[in-house]
Subunit: 372 residues, 4 copies
Amino acid sequence: MTAQAVRTGVWFIGARGSVATTATAGCAAIAAGLHPATGMVTETPPFAGSGLPPLSSLVFGGHDTIDCPLPKRAEALAAGEVLPHGLPSAVRAELTAADAEIRIGGPLPGDTRTDEQLITAFVADLADFARRHELARTVVINVASTEPLPQEGDARLPASSLYAAAALRAGCPYVNFTPSTGLRGPALQDAFDSCALPHAGRDGKTGQTLLRSVLAPMFVQRALPVRAWSGTNLLGGGDGAALADPAAAAAKNAGKERVLADTLGTAPEGEVHIDDVPAMGDWKTAWDHIAFDGFLGSRMILQTIWQGCDSALAAPLVLDLARLMARAHEKGLSGPRPELGFYFKDPDGGPAALSEQYAALLAFGERLRGER
Amino acid sequence: MTAQAVRTGVWFIGARGSVATTATAGCAAIAAGLHPATGMVTETPPFAGSGLPPLSSLVFGGHDTIDCPLPKRAEALAAGEVLPHGLPSAVRAELTAADAEIRIGGPLPGDTRTDEQLITAFVADLADFARRHELARTVVINVASTEPLPQEGDARLPASSLYAAAALRAGCPYVNFTPSTGLRGPALQDAFDSCALPHAGRDGKTGQTLLRSVLAPMFVQRALPVRAWSGTNLLGGGDGAALADPAAAAAKNAGKERVLADTLGTAPEGEVHIDDVPAMGDWKTAWDHIAFDGFLGSRMILQTIWQGCDSALAAPLVLDLARLMARAHEKGLSGPRPELGFYFKDPDGGPAALSEQYAALLAFGERLRGER
Amino acid sequence: MTAQAVRTGVWFIGARGSVATTATAGCAAIAAGLHPATGMVTETPPFAGSGLPPLSSLVFGGHDTIDCPLPKRAEALAAGEVLPHGLPSAVRAELTAADAEIRIGGPLPGDTRTDEQLITAFVADLADFARRHELARTVVINVASTEPLPQEGDARLPASSLYAAAALRAGCPYVNFTPSTGLRGPALQDAFDSCALPHAGRDGKTGQTLLRSVLAPMFVQRALPVRAWSGTNLLGGGDGAALADPAAAAAKNAGKERVLADTLGTAPEGEVHIDDVPAMGDWKTAWDHIAFDGFLGSRMILQTIWQGCDSALAAPLVLDLARLMARAHEKGLSGPRPELGFYFKDPDGGPAALSEQYAALLAFGERLRGER
Amino acid sequence: MTAQAVRTGVWFIGARGSVATTATAGCAAIAAGLHPATGMVTETPPFAGSGLPPLSSLVFGGHDTIDCPLPKRAEALAAGEVLPHGLPSAVRAELTAADAEIRIGGPLPGDTRTDEQLITAFVADLADFARRHELARTVVINVASTEPLPQEGDARLPASSLYAAAALRAGCPYVNFTPSTGLRGPALQDAFDSCALPHAGRDGKTGQTLLRSVLAPMFVQRALPVRAWSGTNLLGGGDGAALADPAAAAAKNAGKERVLADTLGTAPEGEVHIDDVPAMGDWKTAWDHIAFDGFLGSRMILQTIWQGCDSALAAPLVLDLARLMARAHEKGLSGPRPELGFYFKDPDGGPAALSEQYAALLAFGERLRGER
């Protein structure tokens, strides 16, 4: 069996969402040479020898609770200018194949299954997927809508934790690209700490927080105290609607604020708003306003306006993580991977400044070198 | 003689300008405990043991070709909200003392002195300053208005190079905080390369370029190709008027573009404008517009708006450089100091990303440790 | 008695706040020739013959529930760069005189007086003020902090309505420059409709809404449908703290949204945030993001960033209103004055577009002409 | 013959450019009910009875010096997201028909024809077009790239004036939607003044200047003096390249500045830049920075960022003008039409504020009512 023949599964929680659809379609397009691998750090020269699985070897599947077929979902994204026109038809075969590997998730409304029954069902789906495709391994990645912050005293695990538990029980590396609980809750604390599988999280760093992770260190390094850091995000699409729920927005904002607090040493004044603006579709505008002090108390201001498409920012990072985690598993690494803080708002340790996170990522790429 | 008694000269080319006045007044205010040392990296903990001369040991003087007294200049800056109200009167004694140490520079309009005569006169001024104040050493810092780009075939040295040559001849460490030629011209190439004194330059990195030096690496690290980077700077004050001269603006812009080209690997599309807007006074607004590509060719935009006071941004850096160069001289270091790229748009080598420049600066601080 | 000798009272509810202090100090400064009448429409040529009371004839007093002396309040505003340095001392006499005319308002915490008792006390204060200064008339202007939206079923009148009722009972023209209830509640409906005195409101149009009242008509006139209009306001000072109360913010936002709904015909998507950012002091930044459709459904965006000082924007409008209402009273006009919609977010009728409101104001100036 | 059967010609100078292509394709799409008439003021209710020619009655043709077929040009615009995907194929028949009516313009490189010969040729093209299509009239509209400002002493007429002269000689109403000379030069002064045909110009007001024409009156009406008004435009496409020529940019900027000078009474400080940024394609970003004074000299700033597609902004205005001028001709109106200042940066008289221009346009619509 040649190296090329080894196949790696990528199992999305939220497999019919914008991020998963963009990642699935984009992987096919790049593998076919239709587009360059813009935004994929693992396709840059430093990772050439890291033994990562090729994009053409990835097999996609996942869980979701809605049933819009992937090819149709991709057409909707192309209409909203998230995917290039013509791409959905160019990769229709790959989308159809991935669509056939999406299983119904849970808990559904009215679902009477216990947590344990749900986990068991998810494990069975993962095992079936791996068996039928003869996969060397499957990386499970949560890209579902943000859950509300869990309430203390909840008897049930949040859905994100059910999926995370299933991943570990099925022997799959796990990535939590959302602010949802996943492995972070008290119920899974033991699994988090002592897991024999590699896992990484939490909350993909795609736009406003990415910017914050390079700007905040600048203020620190230049000894310019930040007085207030305020921000507003306008977004539509499913993400905008999900985050219109204050509990979900609170979960999202916790990660954004952590970057500032970790870097600046203390949380500055200022709030972060996430507004659902359906007219924006999948495009997002993020405005940040930073009031800082200069020499002798002079008052200065930096403002940033970031206009991007969240799915297009997230998808290449998700593909990066799938490849890096697959290779980490192959190399026998386990437990939380602080080396991947580059990708997360709320990482499992490691530095908070992007430049240091990038250095850690490069070092991780070095560590992954060697025989496949 | 105690360490405290050792005194260090700081000699400004452009000693009556906004930057020099702000640095002189600010040094006195901070030394007197009236203000925290905001913006001074050398006052942060990593430099506590680097043996830098205390702010209270600095003695100020310089050259200028205008004759507005420093206390009056400081009042004008306070009226323009560059200095805090009340500060000029609080540090009047120190401003008056520095004012008494400002000598007439050159060449003046109609000046018939040769280059050599001018250099000799400047050397004599420096020697006299050092002798009367019993200075251990004097750091010469160019903070004068930007000169026009020199024309090929000019028989005369530009003024900035006359001052630079005088500094070296007088045995003084030299810093060029402007985009002017200073030591960089062909005439002083030998002095630049083999100088027995430490020197550093060129063009202080205060605002828009500071931002560029943290944002450009972000795009590179995230594999997001920058399509176009455009910028407009609005500023009044003397700097705005000086840069309204296209030749001076060209000199200024060369440094700004170098940061992008060095970091991105190639200069992106886009221009940089510097507009003289007298109504802005000493305050500056810089707008940057960055068009970049995302996954699958999606088009994204980042805009930044920086509103600050250039003098207040420059002054703490100038004080940092005076202290670092004095200590480097004390430790016997010589030649160009790429470790100080943190401070410059167009440094004498070293990395282009701010985070790496900061690391190099910290390492330099370590190297300066030891006995005074 | 000459026209010059006629004196007009200006009675501020919230007489120690930023707006009242700025208006009082500014009126004195302009009357003394220290500053031009920037921002005062009633000092422009079209109003030269409208018979408005001269600034030098205005006598200031008011109610407040705090007790910081006006000269001290003015010094604090100068420190925050709301008033020019030196102004508080230049107009100290006028500030001290106004300070002596400020009476304690209510209801205070623990106040056991009934609504009727409070109104009676306020009427007595107004009568005493008018008598001692031999005032021809007194205009009462509410510039106090925004009240929370009244709850249905409240047995008591909100404070703003107590003051409004007192104004009418004392025979004073009344202006509500805040979003608070004032005359608008059901309890005072009869007074609102059939009042023999002129009154005007509600909620001064100083910044973001001013902009909206010129931009929204542009979209309508050009047949460009607005899809979403979102905004964030950052402000410190007392206003920021007051508006951090969601009920107060709701009152404030109702006015902002009315402008859009009235002009566009329907309220577009989008929210308005008001953030308390103490580091901003009395300065405000307002960001607006407008997504609109172009030809053939092309998606376009306009963003505006407004940076100003609310007190400095409000004060000249307040002085304008005092003069216009005094003259209207002199001419025997009564009831709500839709001609003053130029000044309000939520006016008592009239057009919503600023240009039409300006035309109505000019016509009102014409109507006020004639004998004093 | 029914009213419906009357056909009106629209003859574009620059018939293969972005604006003409967008207008031609858009007219077909709207006439076919594929899109609403967004951006067309003449399709709003006030113009319902003005007797304007229906969109379905317009017949397109024109001059150009390039030879890319219109359907192909439209496909390129769709790829750049100026036209909706699918539109070029939906209106292919109409584009092909218009393409067949495009004649080669001039002077071409190396063209030896005299001005008179060129005019004669253009008149013949217009006459042939009208005859073959049995057109009631043809409106000639210049939407070609901006010409450099003419130099004094040029013996030849600029191309825009040749086309304008041809239009008048052929009995066609004429519209100059560009900053080029057209009828405005000294050579055509008599024709301009005493023309028996209606004509209108100059320089379509699509984006930044549109905004300026509503914002500048706001500052005037509120008595807030503008200190400086600066702007930068980033644009690609053919327009960006054409305006990279400083002489063309100067022509363009003259119109932009006229709006401010006319409204504010004097031209404020500040420059306007037009940068060619090919990466922007046909999309434009315009940033404006307005420094203005508030009460007591407080310094305030408004910034605007306008992101739109110039062709999509221009096309509906061009269709409006074609219809209005055709009807004006039918009603026997002649000479310059200051009532159309709503559409132009540099109009033939009339007010400068958009709201007043809109009122004038509505009045013009009233005047056009009556029998066809």
